[in-house]
């Protein structure tokens, strides 16, 4: 089917502005991805899947400018023992990074790995699988044009987390990174990501978990205000594997985080959670698609959005339980705390179930601070602002609790507290 003219024009304009990297094992995957983009076309305002989020600036040939944000605090995770890898505007910064050496893990850079590579079987493969039943053209665009990224193969549990730190330095930077993470049977790893990456950031992470493998992924987006970001995580989970991903998003004019998980082995566990703090010119979209294709798997989606001064939050979350995926335990909750009447939360929770012995629940709510709770706290002497902040932290707690490592959870909460405190009268 031919693409509508507007979509075709926008897609061609975007593709014209890019150069396909060549040379190496990823060539065929890139070319195939390019042809997927050409067939699908890039997202347009009329696409059903982009009903609540405007894709224009994510698709535009030129990245809109974003003022570089100067943080007045130390970067998140900076105080812990970790393997640090830094990208500035999407460009690897060898000087600022640790040596890419960690026992139990092999780490290569996409831009440098030209020889035949283990990642060949995964790169673009999970993304392709994630294109059905819903198209995700920005992810295919990324597979084709990503300039760099990390290829992380975890063979044994490393002693410390891998920390990918992003920095933004040029006003109009347009970064595209593609990470591949493969965790072998029995290994367990934590990957941390944070920092403003670029004016516009398109990132894909493909995750392949072998049987009994475990990946903890904790990321923080922000505090840059003007960035636009479209990120995708494609995860394939083997038997008894565990994937837990949590994202804290603060600020940003436009962020769309898509997480696509396929539970392909029995007894696998996937927890996808997020909390976002939006104030004013802020649009945040969590789009999640979890497919249960094995027996006795558990999935949880827990999303909390704090919105004020006209901020917008979007949640599109789906649980698909395929035929034969019996004993599925699926849970989904998306909630927003609207701190004023100007802010809005748009939610589209979906369940599609083709097995008969499953327990799936979903719920979505939108509300203000509870007046009775607020009075109770104030009656004990807490000033209104502090009481409101405490209740706000309480509101996001269910999402933060999805972070298994409590000290990481505490770091996240501390950032949210600081964010709130900066806005307190």
């Amino acid at each position: 089917m031919a693409l509508p003219q507007a979509k075709l024009t926008a897609t061609e304009a975007r593709l014209d502005a890019l150069t396909l990297p060549t040379g190496g094992w990823a060539d065929s995957a890139r070319r195939e991805a390019l042809s997927r983009v050409q067939t699908m076309g890039l997202p347009g305002a009329r696409d059903e899947y982009w009903k609540y989020t405007k894709p224009e600036t994510l698709v535009a040939a030129e990245a809109p400018k974003a003022t570089v944000f100067e943080a007045d605090e130390e970067a998140l995770f900076a105080d812990r023992d970790r393997l640090k890898i830094v990208f500035v505007d999407g460009v690897f910064d060898a000087e600022a990074s640790d040596d890419l050496a960690l026992e139990g893990v092999s780490i290569d850079r996409l831009a440098e790995a030209t020889d035949i590579h283990w990642a060949k079987d995964i790169y673009g493969t999970l993304e392709t699988a994630g294109q059905t039943p819903v198209e995700r053209p920005l992810a295919a665009l990324n597979t084709a044009f990503a300039t760099d990224g990390l290829l992380i193969h975890v063979t044994a549990t490393p002693s410390k987390p891998i920390h990918i730190l992003y920095k933004h330095s040029a006003e109009q930077s347009d970064a595209m990174l593609h990470h591949v993470v493969k965790v072998d049977a029995g290994a367990e790893v934590t990957i941390l990501e944070n920092g403003p990456a670029a004016a516009r950031f398109n990132k894909v992470m493909e995750v392949d978990l072998a049987d009994t493998a475990k990946l903890h992924h904790v990321r923080a987006q922000g505090r840059d205000h003007e960035r636009r970001a479209a990120t995708h995580i494609f995860a394939r989970l083997g038997t008894e594997s565990v994937f837990k991903t949590f994202t804290l998003t603060v600020n940003g004019v436009l962020t769309r985080n898509e997480v696509i998980v396929e539970l392909t082995g029995d007894d696998a566990v996937a927890h996808v959670a997020g909390a976002c703090m939006g104030d004013g010119d802020f649009h945040h979209d969590d789009t999640v698609f979890i497919t249960h294709d094995a027996v006795n798997c558990e999935s949880r989606q827990v999303f909390k959005k704090v919105l004020r001064n006209g901020a917008t939050g979007v949640f599109q979350g789906k649980i698909l339980v395929k035929e034969g995926a019996q004993k599925t335990d699926g849970y989904q909750i998306s909630q927003s705390l609207l701190l004023d009447d100007d802010s809005q939360f748009l939610a589209k929770p979906e369940l599609e179930i083709y097995a008969d012995d499953v327990a799936c629940s979903h719920g979505s709510t939108s509300g203000a601070i509870d007046e009775d709770s607020l009075f109770y706290l104030r009656a004990r002497g807490l000033p209104r602002g502090i009481a409101e902040d405490l209740l706000t932290i309480a509101f996001i707690a269910e999402a933060v609790q999805e972070v298994e490592d409590e000290s990481l959870g505490e770091e996240i909460v501390a950032r949210v507290e600081a964010w709130l405190a900066r806005r307190r009268d």
């Binding site: 009075f375 109770y376 009656a379 209104r384 405490l390 209740l391 309480a394």
Partner: protein
């Protein structure tokens, strides 16, 4: 200490007058009890004094040690030394009981220009006070009042009171839903705080709490007014004869 004069209160949103001229003075060191049938306005009085939204004072005044209470925010009243033990303590998921207590203690200290309590001092104090009230470590760790039984919630109120050391304590039906043992614990907690500088206003439906917390003065409230004031014998009279006789002829 607490002086209420001719207090008239209506609901903000509705044309409904609830308090129709309440006069009441609680002196330092004294325990006053308010009894009265359901719906007579006892909780409303406690809410208005502590600063809950939704009520409009149409006439009268209320002062604490001469300071105009009605002019203050709820948190300012708390820092000034007013405490309300809620009839229905609120459950707050996600806020740890201990965090809540520490934040409250320090917020009040800060408001009064005092130094914050150190974590160690706070812990020591809260553990000792919790022990007296048979509140275990688990209850301190759990979110505020979430999953607490009725009795646990009321004991938690008394713990907060003990930690905050207010000068004027209002207890709204703290006895309701308590068995005899729990009531005794609560009463002991209250009695331990009785001293010359502190006033109590104990709102109760039944006389039995007053066996444990001996009041100096008993007021009967009905239809938004104090209709009778007397000594402890008034509570016994109500217990025996009910409110019917007292209510006769009251508009």
């Amino acid at each position: 200490m607490l002086e209420i004069k001719n207090l008239h209160v209506k609901l903000e949103e509705e044309d409904k007058q609830i308090l129709k001229g309440v006069d009441l003075t609680v002196e330092a060191g004294k325990v006053h009890a308010i009894m009265g049938p359901n719906g007579s306005g006892k909780s409303t009085l406690s809410y208005v004094l502590s600063g809950k939204d939704g009520y409009e004072v149409t006439d009268g005044e209320a002062t604490l040690d001469g300071e105009d209470l009605l002019d203050m925010e709820a948190e300012e009243r708390a820092a000034a030394g007013l405490f309300l033990a809620f009839q229905y303590p609120v459950e707050i998921p996600g806020v740890g009981n201990m965090t809540f207590l520490r934040t409250a203690v320090n917020a009040q200290r800060k408001a009064r220009g005092e130094e914050e309590m150190s974590s160690a001092d706070f812990l020591k104090l809260v553990r000792a006070k919790a022990k007296d009230l048979k509140i275990d470590a688990d209850m301190l760790k759990r979110p505020v009042n979430v999953g607490f039984s009725g009795g646990e919630k009321k004991r938690n109120e008394i713990l907060q009171m003990a930690m905050l050391e207010p000068k004027m304590c209002i207890l709204d039906e703290t006895d309701s839903g308590l068995d005899v043992d729990a009531m005794k614990l609560v009463a002991d907690g209250v009695n331990a705080l009785r001293d010359e500088g502190r006033g109590f206003l104990v709102i109760t439906h039944y006389q039995r709490l007053l066996d444990h917390i001996k009041p100096d003065v008993v007021h009967i409230m009905a239809k938004g007014r104090i209709i009778k004031t007397g000594g402890p014998e008034l509570a016994l009279e109500v217990e025996q004869n009910g409110y019917a006789d007292l209510l006769e002829g009251i508009e």
